[in-house]
Structures are given as C-alpha cells and as structure tokens.
Symmetry: C2
Subunit: 416 residues, 2 copies
Amino acid sequence: MIQVSIVTIGDEILIGQIVDTNSSAIAQALESVGVKIAGMYSVPDNADVMEKTLLNLLASTQIVITTGGLGPTKDDITKATLLKISGSSCYREDPGQLEMVRKILQGRGLDMLPSNRAQALVPDKAEVIVNKLGTAPIMVFRNISGKGTLYSLPGVPHEAVGAIPEIVSDIKKHFSIGEIVHSNIMVYGIAESALSELIAPWEDALPADMHLAYLPNMLTGIRLRLSSYADGTTNILERQKAQIGKLKAILGDKIYALKDTTLEQALGELLLERGKTVSCAESCTGGEIAHLFTSVPGSSAYFLGSVTSYAVSVKESVLGVDPAVIEKNGVVSSEVAAAMAEGVRKLTGSDYAVSTTGLSGPSGDGINPVGTVWIGVAGPHGTITRKYCYKSDRKRNIERFASTALNLLRLYIIED
Amino acid sequence: MIQVSIVTIGDEILIGQIVDTNSSAIAQALESVGVKIAGMYSVPDNADVMEKTLLNLLASTQIVITTGGLGPTKDDITKATLLKISGSSCYREDPGQLEMVRKILQGRGLDMLPSNRAQALVPDKAEVIVNKLGTAPIMVFRNISGKGTLYSLPGVPHEAVGAIPEIVSDIKKHFSIGEIVHSNIMVYGIAESALSELIAPWEDALPADMHLAYLPNMLTGIRLRLSSYADGTTNILERQKAQIGKLKAILGDKIYALKDTTLEQALGELLLERGKTVSCAESCTGGEIAHLFTSVPGSSAYFLGSVTSYAVSVKESVLGVDPAVIEKNGVVSSEVAAAMAEGVRKLTGSDYAVSTTGLSGPSGDGINPVGTVWIGVAGPHGTITRKYCYKSDRKRNIERFASTALNLLRLYIIED
C-alpha cells in the first residue's frame, strides 16, 4: 500500500498563529482513494530542519506532500532546500506559472515586482502544475535520490485545497493504487453509540469486501461511509445500493441524504424540489440558523428571511407573540416556540417556518437547565414543537440547537 | 531556550476526519511565555510508531506534549507505550481521577462500566493532574530515560485546551524560562501591508528589547503584539504603554482595543458602558452579524434582535423599505442600506442599528461585482452608509462584510 507523509512548512504554524487545515484536507482526499497517511509533520522556516525532515520521510514513505513556505517574502529557504535535495543545478522560470502571476496581478491592478516574478522560478528538476488560484507554483519532484516523489503545494488554504484534485490524479497516474468505491449515507437525530448498536446486525452481515466508517460532525450529524475496493468484476455500486436499501428499512427518516452533504443543503434541495419557501425566528441560536441557510449558494430562491428576537420586546412587537403567553409559560416554552414560528411565517409569508427559544449558556433562567431548547415548526398543516436538552458550552449548544432545528423542519416537510 | 515537540495521537487525524486544533492552541500558549515549538507531529494508533517517535523527540527536545489516544475504547495502545517508555512497572489507579470519572458519569446519569473505571489507570511513574472536564487523566512523566519530560493530554479539544494553563504552570515551575510581557493592540480597517508601512517609523524606533508581531484574522482584524522579556529591573508594562501611546497618535480610531479581544466583544463592552442597545438588518450577511453579537455571553443586555431580509418582500413588509426606493436604486444601494438600518431600529426600538445589502457570491446582480456591499448605520444622530468591495469567495466575503459592519457601527458610536 502506498504510504504518504504530509509536511507543513512555516513558523506561523509552529507559533500557533494558524491552524493547519491543509493536512486534514489532503489526508481526507487521499484516504478516500485508498492511500494511507503514515504521518503529519510541521517544520519551521529553517533549511537544515526542512532538509533533514524531508530526506528522512522520503526514505520511509513513497510520497511526501508539503504545503507552505512559498510566499513572495519567504520563497528562498524552501525553494533552495528543494533545489538541493532534488539534485537540481539551477532555477528556471516556468512560463505557465509566470503567465498566471501576470494575470493575477493584472486582475488586482498591480504592477509586477521582482518578488512577484520570482514566484515563477522553480528548481530545474521540478515539473510544474500551474496554480490557477495564486502566484506560487505547484511543483512535483520525482525519484528524489532514486527514492520517493515530493509534491510541493502552496500554503494558502484555498490554493492548497484547489491543488488536491491534480495531485490525486497525478498519484493515480504514477502509482498503482486500488480504486475505492464509496457510498455516503447522512444520518441525523441519533447518537453515535445508539446508531452503532441499532445497525450492528446489518453491519455484521455486510459482505467481507465492504467496510463501514462512522464520520460524526456536530452540524451535519453522522456520515456513514460504505467503501469497497473496485475489483473490476462486479457492479460494486449496485451491491452497495442493495445494502443501503436494507439500512433504510432500519433507519427510515433518520437518513437525510445518500451523498456527502449538509442538513442545510439537503433542506434547500427539498424546498427547491417542492417549490416551497422558509423563514425562521431565532432566540437562543441568535442568527446561526439563518447563517446556515444562507451559506448555501442560491438559497435566496427559498430562504425568505429571519427574525432574531433576542429581546422579549422584539418577540412581542415584531413576531407578534402575545405578552400573556410569555407571562404564563415563560420565554423558554412550547407555547412561545410555536408563537414565534407562526409569527415569522405570517410576517414573511413563507410556506414553512422554524423557531428556537432556549438557553445556550453560560447563565440559565433559574427554571430550565442550560442546554434546554424548545423548537417550533409551523407550516400549512399546523404547528409542532419539541423540547431538547444538551449539555455543552455556549458555542456547541448553539450549533446543536441549530442543526436539531433544521432536522425537525426537514421531518415536518417530508411528512407534509 | 527550552524546545518543545507537540504530538497528536490518533488515526482520526491521519485520515483527515478531524482537523487538529489542539497543537495550535498549545503552541500559542507556549509561544506567549517564550517557549519555542520545534515541531509538530501526528502519529497513528500504532505502538511501534508511537514509541519510536516519542523516544526520538525526547532525545532532541526537552519537552514532548501529546494529545489524544486516551479515549475509553483506545486507551490500551497509548498507555502501554507510555508505561514502556517511562520505565513504569505497572498501572496504578489514580484516586483523584477516579473520583472525577465517578462525578462525570453521575452527572450524566450513567453507571460506571469497567471501561470507564480503566480511565483512571495510569503507569506508576506518571504524576496525575486531574482532568476536571473529562474522564481521561492528564499525565506527566519526568526524566524519561534521564532525558525529557512528557505531558500526555486528552484529545477532546475543550479538555486539551482546559489543560493548557496547568501544563504552562508546570513548565514554568520545572524549567527556567524567561518571563515575557505582552501588550496587545487590536486594529481594524487597514490592510496588513498598509499598516506595516504606516507604522514602520514607529516600529523601527522601538527599544531593542521590544518585539512586534502581526497576527491577522478575517473577523477580528490585526492583533499587534508587543513583547519584551521581563528583566526584573524596569517597569516593562509602563514602557510598553508609552510606546502604545505613540502608536495611538498614528492609528487613532483604527485601534479598537488594548487587549486580545474581538470586535463583537469590544462593541458589547462599549454598548454596556453607555447603556445603549443595538439591532441589525442583514441581507447578504444572512445572520452572521447577529450570530457574532450573540456569541458573546451576556449579549442579551444590549442586543435586541435582528431581521435577516433575504427576500425583497421581507425588506418591504418587515423592515418597511419603500418599494419605490428599491425600484429606483436597486437592492444593493446606499438608499436601501439606510432604509434597512432605519427600519430595524424603529422595529426593535434599539438605540443603534446596522445593516448590510450586497453580493457575497457566487452569482452577481448584473450591475455590481460580486464582493460589493453597502453598509448602513442608524442612530440617534442620523444615518450613514458606506460602500466596500472585496474579492473573495462566498464564505470569506460574508465574514469580511460582517466584521466591516461591526467596525463601522463602532466608529459611529464612538463619534456619537
């Protein structure tokens, strides 16, 4: 099995100024095609450390992928090190990357400085994959000291992520890796341990060539990933589909999508498909639900708007919640959640509306424990409310409240 | 200078399932007290790799800090490795951690299973710092093979972060590290390159013992950090304050705080201090501003609420924007930004209100380029609007729009 080391280069990682998200994105992409990550490393902008680390890793793993160390102000150390360990004798100017540097500067209305032009210089043994998103080139060095292959990627996260498909396809071309077929099943509304217990008989009965992975996430629930190595003889996707059919019979509407997606994406597709619109009224989630809805490009086709009614006065004046209802039941109550959802639905004229009222923390209301939320969903066939209790800090409670609200809305719509 | 290696343990990091935020948090804390991180490493749940990596690192750096590998289902490999390399002969049950395990399970209404009780087992050479946030203990091994010190922290991010102050104080106790004095200056509304040029004369004239670092962030602007080693002879904080006084004369209201904070925190303090309230009307930011305001504990004291008016109809019906104004100027316009801010201010009865209308992308409106935003601020002394253009993707445009809006509101309030 091909083994890969991932190395980030740069003092900014080692002083904790930046969280390294590149390594994880690269690992995810490689793991999904069956390439194993042996280790991850972060080294400073120091030629000796860099050289020693890269040579060691090239001796122990077939592929080393680096990100960073290539900005216009700190090209020198990294490129000199790559020149040295690749046995290059000089730098050459790469015409493809130079053209890209010119284009990018033009787009920003800037003149080309010598430091910009130098970005297109690469050690002469480097193959260049043009970086279409930035000025630093993507470099490939093959057979370093007769050993491994080194890929050098830019450090800027969207440039590094943008380079991943090219790297994966280059690895597929030059190394013999088995192809893996994945199917994703998105599940919400059940804890990982309970899910694992519930589907254990199904999991145990899976064919020997299928492997199941649990990939949980606070906002999107649990992604179940069914994987098999492609053997060329059978229709694997069809066989996976048959297994997923059995899983659907067990999990029912806990499954919200059969692809890698998010609740807000899946909800958006559901609303688009039915030609319906939605709005929300948020108290304790404070705008997070609206933020999730509108993070989806094209959401303006179904998301009309929202009211964050943090103050009781706004619940009353904007959403039209009856003060007597608040007085009688308290703000964190089924009645207020219902009135908020109904209020914002009327206000915006949307088909559906979802609301939250609860306590994200740190302070409570003296009646309900921190982590309590009432969620309301209003639609053409009436209003429902549900109470949930979570035990976490403010940030994570807000995330759980918001994703739970999206899921309750989804369940209401599919039953509608 | 004391050198530290940071190691994360766990397959979930190497398959890219989890982004490692622990290493960065630990590095930041140590860097701020003058301890240098020599490298960061991620290793799989594999005893051989773990043992080899840890022993190598203990030979080259005085301190190794690990996170992870300690969950109830995968304790075995990590603890066995720590037992072996620390020269421990057996496990002992730590009474302090056992008590904590009992408490935590009780709080969740769960019985103690053997796998829970095993969490309190540690190699006999381990000193235990009780983890108050979870069941896995924090372990300290001193003089492993006569060499370095190893700190083993839990992998769950809030538990790892919670352990940092204890680790820092233990390092301060057992190693001689110079004390560093920091002052933070939060700056918003100027690009890093322009800031660096503007304050170059001031920076060049800093006393030799003071060092300046630029720590930029999309949502909070640029944190300038002035650092000096404490030498016990002079009042360093006073001397730093004198330099900051000179910096204030150059940057004026671009400085929004003299401590490590965020725009929404600083705004909250400003509003609390003046006893004023705020609301917002969001179009293109889709709830992000409300989300930022309400991410601050206690924000209900000044944040009344918000309207996310994604649909034009909601701008008209809820915020009372005159359809003729939209017809004449377009949705992305100064006039609509002003009307939105005034509308939500009236609706909620807040002292101040801020609004956004623009194009976060990917699709534009055929008139304004993607990345254009009009921001409005309404208050007791009239309404102002400003136009900004950014060039980024949807997610980052939303973040920039939101933080720019918070900053414009801040400038309005301090001039008020």
